[in-house]
């Protein structure tokens, strides 16, 4: 490893920050919650989780929090995810596939437009954690 310059230091900082940001407890622009109850997992929620992770990695997103929670109570519509843009009401998406996940991420999370055809409704159960 050659000697670091100031620019290298800044580069390492930014790159590592992206992966360690989730430890900081800061405010995120958006939060994605994938519902991972037994029903969700059986219906393919883990694929959805991985799809979100992949998109975030590809796009080097660092201002979006991806997390999991238990069953949302609507087991027949799983896999489900809740998207919450900071300051706006959360939106639940149902019957997700990897393809739908990608569209939702680009249009809603990045673009700010709710993808109505996949949405169940607006509002959410309380998630404390």
């Amino acid at each position: 490893m050659p000697k670091l310059t100031l620019a290298d230091l800044a580069k390492i900082r930014e790159k590592t920050k992206r992966t360690t940001e989730i430890r900081e407890g800061g405010d995120y622009r958006a939060k994605i919650t994938v519902h991972m109850g037994t029903c969700g997992i059986a219906a393919g929620a883990r694929k959805i989780m991985n799809a979100f992770m992949q998109i975030m990695e590809d796009k080097e997103t660092s201002d979006v929090l991806l997390t999991n929670s238990g069953c949302a109570g609507l087991c027949s519509k799983e896999p489900m995810a809740t998207i919450e843009i900071s300051g706006q009401a959360p939106v639940k998406y149902i019957d997700l596939t990897e393809e739908k996940t990608k569209q939702i991420f680009e249009k809603h999370v990045l673009g700010g437009n709710i993808v109505k055809e996949y949405a169940l409704g607006i509002g959410s159960e309380k998630t404390d954690y």
Binding site: K3, L9, T19, I22, M53, T67, N68, S69, Y129
Partner: protein, 610 residues
């Protein structure tokens, strides 16, 4: 599995505490179990396990903090791991039974920052604790690591750095409380013989019983100490540094060496750092376990390879230190504050704390306290806030009696002073010192004469023997204290103790001897009645000094409640108990050796001590 792609994004980071206390509690095994279970659940591309330095809440180890969410799990056992991984990390349902509940409460508190122990703390020296892997320099850099160095090297002159530290009001965290900026100025202005070297030293010879803040900083955030020393070197004009660390701290030594190696690889140590023409490197010197080597002149001798004995000051090390060259010695915690001050400015730092003591202090809170651990608090916080709020009070419903600050060089502060705001000056007014930040809490069952004897025995043991006042004086004091605790004290002993204490303080060669009488002086000042009870009434009010105890059996309780269970007689090694089953028992005082075993084994409270 252990060497994962460091640039990959994970949705969850599991921060496993790997400070020495948690490691002793098996945290590495917990980490292995987590990794195994995560792999089993196919979560290894989603969840990352990170080992961090000391979290501080050592009482509750092994500890795990889950990010995002800051969920705090404690006292983890291997058998909890499969359930935890499946419920929380896979299915998103945090596991309440592994969370912390405050003493006497049943509702668990999930989030770390909501727990009283953490809530009142202000982190400067420990700002990276639990947030980075100390063995990964990139994680330190991500939390603004080496930013202060780049600022100091490219935007500031040495004089400006010294001025900034002076303005911050930072005082030495190792015990003396000398203004750090002023010390740096002395070293900067000192001329080195023949235009030679100046040196930077980090004192990590933490020897006070119960103190472990330096160890924790070195284990959790070694780079912040290295960065502080680099900035100090630039300020005073040094190109070689030494970190003197106890050999009893193997984890700290190993993480420090890893950190130094990584810093060298990045060119943050070595020649021409950041192309500014500035050279600096650091060598680790391990101490061999002599308490006196924490004293700066003894430390210097030890680094030079000589016998670790102190020498008179002046000349101070700032003028003539290592190999007679001007040397800047600061403690680990002091160095850990430097990069924060350069990054955030002297004004920010001096806005925290009191008139004469700025910033924060790390204390190791130990003894009779619910929440044992490492806490960093702003100067000026009261003892009450530390003991009751952060420390969660005294266990077992006992009453608070005193707190010993500053280790064996410090003093005992009585409960009447619990609202004392803590800083360097308030502590010295009540006869104690800040010292390195040891804080030993004592409850009503503590005998203050015994405590004084304990600390004096420690300093007497550790006295290097070079000067007579310390070598002979502390021994004489220890003999008197021993005599008092054995019931052989004389009335004139207290005056004699005070005389000895004062002359040792005035005449000992170094800080060890000069401060050794402090525990005796403060206990005499605040707990004189306990000394008098030992001497005049031949009683130990706390019943700790066993030679002064008289054990008797309440025959009524023994017969009616215990039905003469005979346990005491069976356990008495001196055959001093008369009686048989279903009869009341009796102690023959002439035969009793006062070992207290009968008192300990009686399930009915029939054995009484006076």
């Amino acid at each position: 599995m252990t060497e994962k792609n460091k640039d990959k994004t994970y949705r969850m980071h599991l921060m496993v505490c790997a400070g020495t206390a948690c490691v002793s509690n098996g945290s590495f095994k917990i980490k292995e179990a987590l990794e195994k279970e995560i792999e089993k659940q196919n979560l290894d591309s989603e969840v990352l396990v990170v080992t961090t330095g000391c979290n501080g809440f050592c009482e509750r180890g092994p500890l795990l903090v889950v990010q995002p969410g800051n969920i705090f799990y404690q006292q983890l056992k291997l058998k909890d791991i499969p359930h935890l991984v499946e419920e929380h990390f896979l299915k998103g349902r945090p596991v309440e039974k592994l969370m912390y509940s405050p003493p006497k409460e049943k509702t668990p508190i999930p989030v770390l920052s909501d727990i009283d122990f953490f809530r009142k703390q202000v982190l400067i020296a420990l700002q990276n604790r639990g947030l980075i892997d100390p063995e990964k320099i990139d994680e330190y850099i991500a939390r603004d690591g080496y930013q202060a160095l780049s600022k100091a090297l490219t935007e500031m002159t040495p004089e400006e750095i010294v001025e900034e530290i002076k303005k911050s009001g930072l005082r030495g965290r190792g015990g003396g409380g000398f203004p750090t900026g002023l010390k740096w100025e002395f070293v900067r202005n000192a001329s080195s013989p023949n235009g030679g070297e100046k040196y930077i030293i980090c004192n990590g010879d933490e020897g006070d019983p119960g103190a472990f803040m330096d160890r924790s900083i070195l284990e959790a955030d070694p780079h912040c100490v290295i960065e502080g020393m680099l900035i100090g070197a630039k300020a005073v004009g040094a190109s070689q540094g030494f970190i003197y660390v106890r050999n009893e701290y193997p984890l700290a030594v190993s993480r420090l060496n890893i950190a130094l190696e990584q810093a060298r690889e990045y060119g943050l140590l070595g020649k021409n750092i950041f192309d500014t023409g500035f050279d600096f490197d650091i060598k680790v010197t391990r101490g061999a376990g002599a308490f006196v080597c924490g004293e700066e002149t003894a430390l210097l001798a030890s680094v030079e390879g000589k016998l670790g004995e102190p020498r008179p000051r002046p000349p101070y090390p700032a003028e003539s230190g290592l190999w007679d060259k001007p040397t800047c010695i600061n403690n680990v915690e002091t160095w850990a504050n430097i990069c924060r001050i350069i990054n955030r400015g002297a004004k920010w730092f001096s806005s925290i704390g009191t008139e004469t003591s700025k910033g924060t202090k790390v204390f190791s809170l130990v003894g009779k306290i619910n929440n044992t651990g490492l806490v960093e608090v702003p100067m000026g916080i009261t003892l009450r806030e530390i003991i009751e709020d952060i420390g969660g009070g005294i266990p077992g419903g006992k009453k608070f009696k005193a707190v010993q600050t500053g280790g064996p060089s410090g003093g005992c502060i009585p409960k009447e002073k619990i609202d004392l705001p803590i800083d360097y000056d308030s502590l010295s007014e009540v006869g104690s010192i800040m010292g390195s930040g040891g804080m030993v809490v004592m409850d009503e069952d503590t005998c203050m004469v015994d405590v004084a004897k304990y600390f004096l025995t420690f300093t007497q043991d550790e006295s290097c023997g070079k000067c007579t006042p310390c070598r002979e004086g502390t021994k004489a004091m220890q003999q008197i204290l021993t005599r008092i605790t054995e019931g052989k004290g004389k009335e004139e002993d207290l005056d004699l103790l005070e005389d000895l204490a004062k002359s040792i303080k005035d005449s000992a060669l170094c800080g060890l001897g000069q401060t050794a009488p402090n525990p005796v002086l403060t206990t005499l000042r605040y707990f004189r009645d306990e000394y008098e009870a030992h001497i005049k009434e031949k009683k130990c009010p706390a019943h700790i000094c066993r030679e002064l105890n008289t054990y008797t059996i309440d025959e009524d309780i023994c017969l009616n409640k215990g039905h003469g269970c005979d346990l005491c007689r069976k356990n008495c090694s001196a055959d001093a108990i008369l009686g048989e089953k279903k009869q009341a028992h009796k102690i023959i005082q002439d035969k009793c050796i006062k070992c207290g075993v009968c008192y300990d084994v009686c399930n009915f409270g029939a054995v009484q001590v006076d």
